[in-house]
Symmetry: C2
Subunit: 160 residues, 2 copies
């Protein structure tokens, strides 16, 4: 099974594709980040996120997609911006027929690190270990996207 993890943001949208390869291991296929320019109109930036995710889907043909659900405690301005970026990414997966898993931040940290209040650096370190990478994936957005994908593979295995 191949999973696309996404960490959406209006400025930086991280993505990462992983394969399950055996009962308990996974490997990274590719990861990266889609950047948009704050000087561009909103419609251009949303289209860049949408088109970027569509390109990743067409290139790597994942079976499913996953992202972090929104924790509250955001301010309204951040929530609006995140909502717009999330919708562009979600629409790209929906219109390419992928199922989408959404996981709360604490669930992702629990699955990847083993505790729900782990720091960002611990998540990045464990993403590297679990995927057998020779360095931690940069930027953070790609690492967070890979963490969402690992969570989806793990949860799917547990349920299946």
């Amino acid at each position: 099974m191949r999973v696309l993890g996404i960490d959406p943001g209006l400025v930086h949208t991280g993505w990462g594709v992983i394969d399950s390869s055996g009962a308990s291991t996974s490997r990274a296929v590719a990861y990266g980040v889609i950047d948009t320019r704050s000087s561009d109109p909103l419609s251009t930036r949303l289209d860049a996120i949408y088109s970027g995710i569509v390109s990743v889907i067409e290139r790597y043909r994942p079976d499913a997609a996953a992202l972090e659900s929104v924790y509250f405690g955001l301010n309204a301005k951040t929530a609006l911006s995140l909502g717009q970026a999330r919708a562009a990414a979600i629409l790209a997966t929906a219109r390419r027929g992928l199922t989408l898993g959404e996981y709360p931040p604490a669930t992702i940290k629990n699955v990847v690190v083993g505790q729900g209040r782990a720091e960002k650096e611990q998540v990045a370190y464990m993403v590297r270990m679990l995927l057998g990478l020779d360095h931690e994936p940069h930027p953070d957005h790609a690492s967070d996207a890979l963490a969402a994908a690992i969570t989806h593979l793990t949860m799917t295995r547990v349920v299946a």
Copy 2:
């Protein structure tokens, strides 16, 4: 010139298409609302808004689109939900090549009613008068979408 006005919302997205017909009058071509079910997954609901706006564009072939910009003072939950709906509508217009005008609520009220703090009912009444409709457009979301379209036509005329 033909303008599509949109009033995006995750539950109800109003839309309205108007034509300029002469130096100072406009007429309504069609208007309506796209509803989504709160029991459906977010990806299904965003796709319904996106696909609904694409259908309206393909059917009525507007030259431009317009919507209200976001006023702050929303709470984070509302802002997230509105952001997601807005992105689906904006992406539909962007991917069909329409230019998009965004106008603050006070500008729309000023153009349509003549004062920036008008009530919703005054906007609906003036939309009816300006477009020569025999009743006020329902639901409110369609009326607000038509008001955004009227604003775009008016502002374009002033600038041109």
